[in-house]
């Protein structure tokens, strides 16, 4: 028997029962589509995290008070904040860096009739370079404003859009907490990053935030940027030993501060998305398995239904292996067809979701190949048993079957 004829017979059998064939392959279509979409979306999420981390600023170190365990949901204990002296010490002792203090709080902001709660960061002019977030127009803080803690502020673009309603922001007076504050500059637009609007922000001189908003003379974080690539490790070690001296924790006790670099954060997030990808992929794989069982079920029904046909074929000279191949090829053709449709649906779904969520669209040939191979393999595995059942039929019993 020629291979092409075997294929032709199977295609005819599939075409003869179009609706049933479609419903049979539906399980495989859904299975392959969800595996492909899940894994692709996972890769896309990882890519988008990586891109966002890069936009925050590479070579960036966050120095935070307290202790933190690595990983998501790690335990954090609070500790005393830093002093401005710590920032100065780091600036003076560690070479090749930019450093900016940050005292972060949030305040009710009133602009004309609009009011909202906005994150406020007390910092210095080094913030722009360290956080890779520069002035669009207006001016930086003047030295006198910094030392006096003057009520001046630099605002993000979201405030202009949502609260200024088209008015000229520069020189305007806005209320931040209980302080009237003059706008002197506007930051460039950064967009959203990890669910946070990075343009919904107000920068003020650190002393202004300390005295006018928080009422404490400390700093809640220190941002450090290494000027030379690949030196963050060294910089981190220097900062750690310096702060250990300065903060002088209980002998033998753990540090009451920690340094995180963006690389760490990226890794944490990536491992989270990877875990999610594996989990969703596993669920999708189960649906693929269910699809395979669906194929087996229909093939078994089909063998029973076509017992007489099998008897006729055996009577006119089909060998057991001819019948076996016919049914096996039929189930492989069904599952492969389902696999191909599933790939198309999966990639289409991925494209739709990434387009809607503004994520990068990733298509991995490896994932496609695995999805396709699996669908073919499922046809072989779940088609074999029904095909064998058909091939083992006794010609005369099969012919007598009603």
């Amino acid at each position: 028997m020629r291979a092409l004829d075997t294929l032709g017979m199977s295609v005819q059998a599939i075409a003869r029962n179009k609706l049933r064939s479609f419903l049979t392959t539906l399980g495989i279509i859904i299975g392959v589509a969800s595996v492909v979409a899940m894994v692709h979306l996972g890769q896309s999420a990882t890519r988008s995290v990586t891109e966002q981390i890069a936009s925050i600023g590479s070579n960036l170190l966050f120095v935070m008070p307290g202790t933190a365990q690595r990983g998501p949901g790690g335990l954090r204990t609070s500790a005393e904040n830093f002093e401005l002296g710590d920032v100065e010490a780091i600036r003076n002792e560690v070479a090749g860096i930019l450093v900016a203090p940050a005292l972060t709080t949030s305040a009710t902001v009133v602009i004309g009739n609009a009011n909202d709660t906005i994150p406020v960061i007390g910092t210095t002019n080094d913030y722009f370079a360290v956080r890779n977030h520069y002035l669009d127009y207006g001016r930086e803080f003047e030295d006198s404003e910094q030392s006096a803690g003057a009520a001046v502020c630099i605002i993000g673009k979201t405030l202009i859009e949502e609260m200024f309603l088209g008015q000229e922001p520069l020189g305007a007076n806005i209320r931040v907490g209980r302080t009237a504050c003059r706008v002197i500059g506007v930051l460039v637009e950064k967009g959203e990053s990890m669910g946070q609007d990075r343009d919904k922000i107000i920068l003020m001189p650190v002393k202004a935030v300390q005295r006018r908003l928080v009422g404490e003379l400390d700093v809640s974080a220190i941002y450090v940027s290494a000027l030379v690539d690949g030196t963050t490790g060294l910089v981190q070690a220097q900062i750690e030993s310096l702060l250990r001296q300065r903060r002088n924790p209980a002998a033998g006790g753990a540090d009451d501060f920690y340094v995180r670099d963006t690389q760490d954060i990226a890794q944490t997030l990536e491992s989270t998305t990877n875990t999610l990808t594996v989990l969703l992929g596993a669920i999708a794989a189960v649906s693929l398995l269910v699809g395979g069982i669906g194929i087996m079920n229909i093939m078994l029904v089909s063998v029973t239904e076509r017992t007489r046909e099998i008897g006729i074929r055996l009577a006119i000279g089909a060998r057991a292996r001819d019948v076996l191949t016919q049914f096996l090829v039929e189930s492989i053709a069904l599952s492969t067809l389902g696999g191909i449709i599933g790939l198309i649906v999966g990639v289409g779904g991925t494209w739709l979701v990434t387009w809607q969520l503004d994520m990068p669209f990733v298509v991995s040939p490896a994932v496609m190949a695995v999805g396709f191979t699996f669908s073919v393999a499922i046809g072989v595995i779940f088609g074999y048993f029904p095909a064998r059942k058909a091939a083992m039929l006794n010609p005369i019993d099969a012919l007598r079957h009603e």
Binding site: M1, R2, D5, R16, L314, I316, G317, A318, A320, I396
Partner: protein
């Protein structure tokens, strides 16, 4: 409708035996429920003979024919087909024997549903591995032989019973087998159509010298054969010319 006398004289006693069966038993069940479908049957069929198997319902006609056609295996006994001991062959060898040496026609036609007459006739050639172009040609020739060339693309549902049986005959003959086995080929047809089918078989036999083994319980149909075997309760009880056997 009278008997048609076909060159019986041409089949001499020296023609080789196509079928040689010795002490064939086919027993279903055991103990009290035991059924002896065949109870020690021995018979020879020579090349070119047209043999009818007669007998009441349940006498083992079909069972005998299925065993001689290698669709079924006997419980015991020896069966030689063209000198080859069939008992020693495996499933696939039996399939090849059917493919190359036998053609089957059944009472219920047994065409593949929703498949054209042409495709049905082509089916045995597909299993032989014949290429499509040659396959079409041979199948069309076979359909022409049975007078159905113009209905080649009709499916079984679009054909009358007589036409379906002609397609089945074309399918049985397309591989040019030396032996044609027919189990009540006219059983589902009215008298007129039955006569046409029988004339078809007789003319094919005249053209090709094919050996025919046919089961029937109708004396009028059996008279087309040149030898009648009469079965009762799984035993071969009479063997002779139609006029000798049929009362």
């Amino acid at each position: 409708m009278g008997p048609v006398n076909v060159g019986v004289s041409e089949i001499s006693q020296s023609s080789p035996c196509v079928v040689e069966a010795r002490d064939i038993y086919k027993i279903y069940g055991s103990g009290a429920t035991e059924v002896r479908a065949l109870d020690g049957v021995s018979l020879n069929i020579r090349a070119g003979e047209f043999v009818a198997i007669m007998g009441p319902s349940g006498s083992g006609k079909s069972t005998c024919m299925n065993i001689l056609g290698c669709l079924d295996v006997p419980s015991s006994g020896e069966y030689r087909f063209r000198g080859v001991e069939v008992g020693g062959l495996n499933r696939d060898e039996l399939a090849l024997l059917r493919r190359n040496f036998m053609g089957f026609v059944f009472q219920s036609f047994n065409l593949l549903p929703r498949t054209s007459a042409l495709s049905n006739v082509e089916l045995p050639l597909i299993y032989e591995g014949v290429r499509p172009a040659q396959r079409h040609e041979l199948a069309m020739q076979a359909l022409t032989t049975v007078g159905l060339a113009d209905r080649a693309h009709a499916t079984s549902a679009q054909l009358s019973g007589g036409q379906q049986q002609r397609v089945a005959i074309a399918r049985a003959l397309v591989t040019e087998p030396p032996l044609l086995l027919a189990d009540e080929p006219t059983g589902n047809l009215d008298t007129a159509m039955a006569g046409e089918i029988m004339k078809e078989l007789v003319s094919i036999r005249e053209q090709r010298g094919i050996t025919i083994l046919m089961v029937t319980h109708e004396p009028d149909i059996a008279r087309y054969a040149d030898r009648v075997l009469f079965f009762t309760d799984g035993k071969l009880v009479r063997d002779g010319t139609p006029s000798e056997v049929i009362p």
